[in-house]
Amino acid sequence: MLPKVLVAAAVRPIMLAILAQGESYGYQIIQRIHDLSDGKLAWSDGTLYPVLHRLEGEGLVRSTWRMSEAGRKRKYYRLTHAGQAALAQEQAHWFDMHAILLKLWPTPPQLALT
């Protein structure tokens, strides 16, 4: 399980990255995070939505209500140009951070040894 603080910092680039792959809706996004993280990213679903809303408030994503194939109303989110720029910036930041940590930790942790 990843610590909450770290998750909170990462959830934003993750969301942006997922939406960069195409339009999606809440449940699908959350499922995808689950799949990608093998369950390591445990965060209650209910609090992921506010993140999406905040991104929307910042103008990075845009939402529309549409009918799903099952005939239910669904809110779809899509990355805006500003969102793509923000994603590029996030990537830059994370790579910088990654580079710093790599210099400090030349070898990956040997989990099997512990």
Partner: protein, 897 residues
């Protein structure tokens, strides 16, 4: 059994009022839940397990709420658009409306009193205004009204000034002379109207107001021709123009144009050809007619007229004058004076001698009175219009004052609301807008309701006033402007107290309820006094007018007027008809008698002769009667005897006079100390005729006049125009049927038309009755509105004193004592109003009664009744409220906050 939809709905409900979530958010979350549950169901979980697992995954509500709130409250501020601003204004206005409606609803009875009071006041005021406007717009529908005049002959009186009132009846020759000799006169039109029987073919004749007019009538006056040619319709003496409603009556289905109408003129039917249909004269027209006939036809059927066509002392027709455009009354005055001098030289000389005037003084002339002034100067009394306007404004002022004091009183209770609004950030401007807006809204509501009430009650009003007023008059520009003015001023004043005063309070004071609201107490008290003064004044007037009307109805007139039928016999052989009727009806047990006379009874003015002798004027009313006249009407003799048909001398040389005539001569000349056997002094026409009897005075005139000198004769000094039939009071219908049958046998070509004598006599007082009716209704509404206002004030006061009353009650005060405590304050105001009203009412009513020669005494009783009524009404209204407050359980009232 678990139901997924119900569970989801329950979950939604639990979040619905949580302000962290918008509806949109909830929609999204629900969609999420459904997706997830679907996925779990596919894996084989049952609904309930899936739902519970799902909620688990959603996380703790508290965490979720915190995150959502973070987004909501930290959402970056959007750019303020115009739409946004408007949106929030709209939301605020919606809130004002909601609060306004809620306050109204919460205080239903005040709201009703408040709005309804103003509405009723306004409705009454509007109706009275319509009535006055009708009076003031009389005859103004003629497009050429500025150029239209009615002519009257005036002569000097003792003061040496021309007497304005003058005589409106003129010789036949005047109109042609005016057209020929007075430059500036475009047309002179003679008008003489009477009721004539008219019929089409052999259908039953109807009585029609037929008016003989000169042909220019249809072009100079503003009555619209609906068919036929206005210029030529009355050219031929055998043409007739019918009013629209007469045409409908005579010709039900056929087109009247070109058809014949038979008119009963001077004893026989004469055929006229219909050449035009003209609009019915409006109610506010001085000239009223139902059919127009060429004046040229008049002398053709009345030999008297023919004989006197050039006699300048034979004055019988009204004459109207149309001046050319640009010519004024003053321009033609000299020519008119010349014309008068030319034909009435002897009169002028007589007047000059009589009053010792120089030869240059204009001792008499023709004067023109503009059409628009005729009604107010001659027919109606303009003071009445002003009084009525005063009453209307008074009622309106009372209603507005009530409205304002009640609105102010109600708003004073909203100090708390003002505090709350201020505490959460309202600034003063907003509060002012709110309270003024509310006041204007209420005013508009009341005004609309009032307008509706006025329109709805117009038919009733028309029935009361015997007028034909149209509701369209309510939307005349002047009325609309006045209403707008009223709306602005009433709304402004009613809203000013809360808008200006309440909005200034510091919220902490209003919220801690430490504020004392004394309000405009002195003003309110003054207003209550004015209201009741006006109400009591109107009520006293109503009582006095009613008493005088009853007095005229029940006064002993000196003759027996009951169960007598009057049949008009104008233009017929009255005397012959009476004799035949008498023979026919002699065997009828239910007909008690038949007689006839030249004059009816109960008229105003004088009918007879007028002469001067030794600087003294004498007026004698002349009655040509049947011998049984005095028996028929049960008029007692003071001395002498009545006429005897068996004495041939009685039919030519005998007179009966009344006491008033004897008195008149005794006072003026000392003559007729012993009247029997004497002649009427100085009177040429009756020279040689002896007085054979003196009857007691009886009121043949209206009661405005004292009994005037009168003489009665069998000789035909005056035509016999009225037939009287006395019916058996126990068998009126049978007697009427018998009379009708006898009439049909004697006068087969004239339908039997009758009236009861007491009805016709009472009709003379129609104007006064109309006024007393209007004043009665006005006083009813004035007192009604004043009581409404008092009720509202009492309610507010008792509400304000609830706690005080509770404490007094706990300490042992009885209910009557508490009622007295509250009522006393108000009743003093009413008493003050009465004190103001009584002297004013006394003076005004005294003036009104002066018109009646026979009037009631203005005693204290009527004033006492008025005062007690007002006080009683006020006391019951106030006490009712006070009683309710005093009866309340003190536990409740002391807890009241």
């Amino acid at each position: 059994m678990f139901n997924l939809d119900h569970a989801l709905a329950a979950w939604r409900r639990s979040l619905r009022f949580n302000r962290a979530f918008s509806r949109d958010d909830l929609d999204e979350l629900e969609a999420h839940l459904r997706d997830y549950i679907e996925a779990l169901q596919d894996e084989g979980h049952d609904d309930e397990a899936a739902f519970r697992h799902d909620l688990d995954r959603l996380g703790l509500r508290h965490d979720m709420e915190t995150e959502y709130r973070k987004v909501r409250w930290t959402r970056p501020k959007r750019h303020q658009t115009l739409f946004n601003t408007l949106h929030w204004h709209a939301v605020m206005i919606k809130n004002y409306f909601k609060i306004a409606l809620r306050t109204l609803y919460k205080e239903k009875s005040y709201a009703f009193i408040n709005i309804f009071g103003l509405a009723v006041g306004l409705a009454v005021c509007l109706l009275l205004f319509l009535f006055v406007r009708n009076e003031w717009t009389y005859d103004q529908f003629h497009p050429k009204v500025d150029q239209l005049y009615r002519i009257h002959a005036v002569s000097v009186d003792e003061s040496g000034q021309l007497n304005e009132s003058g005589n409106t009846a003129h010789p036949l020759a005047l109109a042609p002379a005016l057209e020929a000799e007075v430059p500036g006169v475009e047309a002179a039109i003679r008008v003489r109207g009477f009721d004539y029987y008219m019929r089409h073919e052999q259908a039953e004749a109807i009585s029609v107001r037929g008016t003989f007019v000169d042909p220019a009538f249809t072009t100079q006056f503003g009555f619209a021709m609906q068919a036929g040619d206005a210029a030529s319709a009355l050219e031929d003496p055998l043409n007739i123009v019918l009013s629209a409603s007469t045409a409908d009556k005579l010709f039900a289905n056929t087109d009247p144009l070109g058809n014949q109408v038979s008119v009963h003129l001077n004893g026989s039917y004469v055929d006229f050809t219909v050449t035009g249909i003209i609009a019915d004269p409006p109610g506010n027209s001085t000239i009223q007619f139902e059919a127009l006939m060429p004046f040229a036809a008049y002398p053709m059927h009345y030999p008297d007229m023919q004989r006197n066509a050039d006699n300048w002392n034979y004055s019988v027709v009204l004459t109207y004058v149309a001046l050319r455009a640009g010519v004024t009354n003053a321009d033609v005055a000299p020519a008119l004076a010349d014309l008068y001098a030319k034909h009435y030289e002897s009169r002028l000389n007589y007047a000059r001698e009589e009053y010792n005037l120089g030869p240059d003084v204009v001792a008499g002339s023709f004067l023109l009175r503009n059409m628009a002034d005729i009604h107010l100067v001659e027919t109606s009394n303009p003071t009445y219009s002003y009084i009525l306007l005063g009453i209307a404004l008074g009622i309106l002022v009372i209603a507005c004052i009530n409205f304002m004091t009640l609105t102010i009183g109600r708003s004073a209770r909203r100090a708390m609301e003002v505090g709350v609004r201020k505490a959460i950030g309202a600034h003063r401007g907003q509060l002012m807008a709110q309270f003024w807006g509310e006041a204007f809204m209420l005013t508009a509501l009341a005004l609309l309701l009032g307008l509706g009430l006025a329109v709805a009650s117009l038919p009733v009003f028309n029935a009361v006033t015997d007028e034909d007023l149209a509701w369209t008059g309510l939307f005349a520009p002047a009325v609309v402007m006045a209403l707008l003015g009223l709306f602005v001023s009433t709304g402004f004043i009613a809203g000013s107290y809360p808008a200006l005063l309440l909005s200034r309070f510091r919220p902490i004071e209003t919220l801690s309820n430490r504020l004392r609201l004394s309000g405009a107490n002195r003003l309110t008290k003054g207003l209550v006094i004015i209201q009741f003064a006006l109400s009591v004044f109107l009520m006293v007037s109503t009582l006095v007018m009613g008493a005088q009307m009853r007095h005229t109805q029940t006064m002993n007139l000196g003759f027996d007027k009951d169960h007598v039928v009057v049949i008009e016999a104008f233009g017929m052989d009255g005397r012959g008809i009476v004799q035949k009727l008498e023979q026919t009806l002699a065997s009828e047990p239910d007909v008690l008698g038949v007689t006839a006379s030249g004059n009816s009874l109960g008229w105003s003015g004088s009918i007879g002769t007028n002469f001067s002798h030794n600087d003294k004027n004498y007026t004698i009313n002349i009655f040509t009667v049947e011998a049984n006249y005095f028996d028929f009407f049960d008029i007692p003799f003071v001395e002498g005897r009545g006429f005897d048909v068996l004495r041939s001398a009685d039919s030519t040389g005998a007179l009966v006079v009344n006491e008033a005539l004897v008195r008149d001569f005794q006072e003026k000349d000392g003559l007729l100390a012993n009247p029997i056997g004497e002649e009427i002094p100085h009177h040429r026409r009756t020279a040689g005729a002896q007085i054979i009897g003196v009857v007691e005075d009886f009121h043949f005139n209206v009661l405005y006049q004292e009994v005037a000198p009168a003489m009665f004769a069998l000789q035909n000094y005056w035509g016999v125009n009225y037939v009287f039939v006395r019916l058996n009071p126990m068998a009126v219908p049978d007697a009427l049927a018998a009379t009708e049958a006898a009439w049909a046998a004697v006068v087969p070509d004239i339908p039997f038309q009758y009236q009861f004598l007491d009805d016709t006599m009472q009709r003379v007082y129609a104007n006064d009755q109309q006024w007393s009716a209007i004043v009665r209704y006005a006083s009813f509404f004035a007192i009604f509105i004043a009581c409404l206002g008092l009720l509202g004030l009492a309610t507010l006061t008792t509400a304000r004193r609830t706690k005080e009353l509770g404490i007094r009650k706990v300490l042992g005060a009885s209910v009557p004592r508490l009622v007295g405590l509250v009522a006393r304050d108000f009743l003093w105001l009413v008493v003050a109003g009465i004190v103001v009203a009584v002297p004013v009412g006394f003076v005004v009513m005294q003036r009104w009664l002066e018109d009646f020669a026979y009037r009631i005494e203005l005693g204290p009783l009527l004033f006492l009744i008025g005062a007690v009524l007002a006080l009683g009404l006020a006391a019951s209204v106030v006490s009712l409220q006070a009683y309710r407050a005093a009866r309340a359980n003190p536990v409740e009232s002391l807890r009241y906050e």
